[in-house]
Symmetry: C2
Subunit: 187 residues, 2 copies
């Protein structure tokens, strides 16, 4: 079967998400793709190269979601950020999970780059909390850094428990989670 480099990255992302990076062998990846060792290495040099590609896809999806978040008020903008995060998890679960969970498996320089991308993403949450404090909608006694960590902690855990075919659809989850956070932060 003919496989593109993008096919290889997609399947690697799925295996990294399901089993973890370290538990995924190149042999298992080749089997999953129906490629023998040498044909697999025609596409990529190493398992780490695949991890970098998957994690960078994840970083790009989250970055695009943050850039697309809009709202007339800090509350509305936060709701939009939450909905965007959940959309990335729903549409790109393997890249999202690998981006969030496997940075530490990269070597130092690559890990630093991913941490910088994650920090840039988290800054979008801190910024909206600061806006809400400035315009009087959010309370002043919760610092934006801690508040954004709490919200992102709830968002990042979603992929471990949430099933879209359960009692809550994705919009209901976004509304419930935003509501929880907003009640906690309002003045």
């Amino acid at each position: 079967m003919s496989r593109s480099r993008q096919d290889v990255i997609e399947v690697a992302g799925r295996l990294f998400a399901e089993r973890g990076y370290h538990a995924t062998s190149m042999r298992a990846l080749g089997r999953e793709l129906g490629l023998l060792g040498s044909s697999l290495y025609a596409h990529i040099q190493s398992k780490e190269e695949l991890l970098v590609a998957v994690v960078e896809d994840g970083a790009r999806f989250f970055g695009a979601a943050a850039a697309a978040a809009v709202g007339d008020t800090p509350e509305a903008e936060l709701k939009s950020l939450v909905a965007g995060h959940l959309r990335v998890i729903a549409e790109h679960p393997n890249q999202a999970r690998t981006f969030l969970a496997e940075a530490r498996s990269l070597d130092q320089a690559l890990c630093d780059r991913i941490i910088a991308a994650r920090d840039h993403y988290e800054e979008a949450f801190r910024t909206v909390l600061r806006k809400g404090i400035a315009d009087g909608s959010f309370r002043v006694d919760l610092d934006p850094k801690t508040g954004s960590i709490f919200i992102l902690s709830m968002l990042n855990a979603v992929e471990r428990w949430y099933h879209p075919d359960g009692p809550m659809d994705q919009d209901a989850l976004a509304a419930t989670l935003s509501d929880f956070a907003l009640r906690a932060m309002r003045r």
Copy 2:
């Protein structure tokens, strides 16, 4: 150097927490302990046996914390649960992290046992939320299951960002996190 089985389990827990289970080799463990291969295997049969021991320690610490939580009201009891969870993370970081992160590395039967222990722990949170709904202190439009997942998501993420020598000491973190959750859940 003479080493007890408990020493081996302690060091294994630290390496699993730092590097992940799959990235920890028996060779690295032996080196860390100053034990050659054969002396290490005098204490334990396999890496999985060590993972079971570390994860079971974690389950026991969290179970004891939940059993010790007290409060005259659902609010006070939830604060006590939150403080107890943070105490386990502070006092037994390696066992806590391995318990929370590495269950999926166990074989199915063992993994099921850990998931049962975790569910039993989470039930303590669901129970206090149900009590608060029943006595009118918490709102009825957030189901206890989702509420407890949100709170545990924030708690479980603590070990990834919190430094006790930073601006917030452990009591301040417990108060801030409980306050965030209680504001989100009050009627």
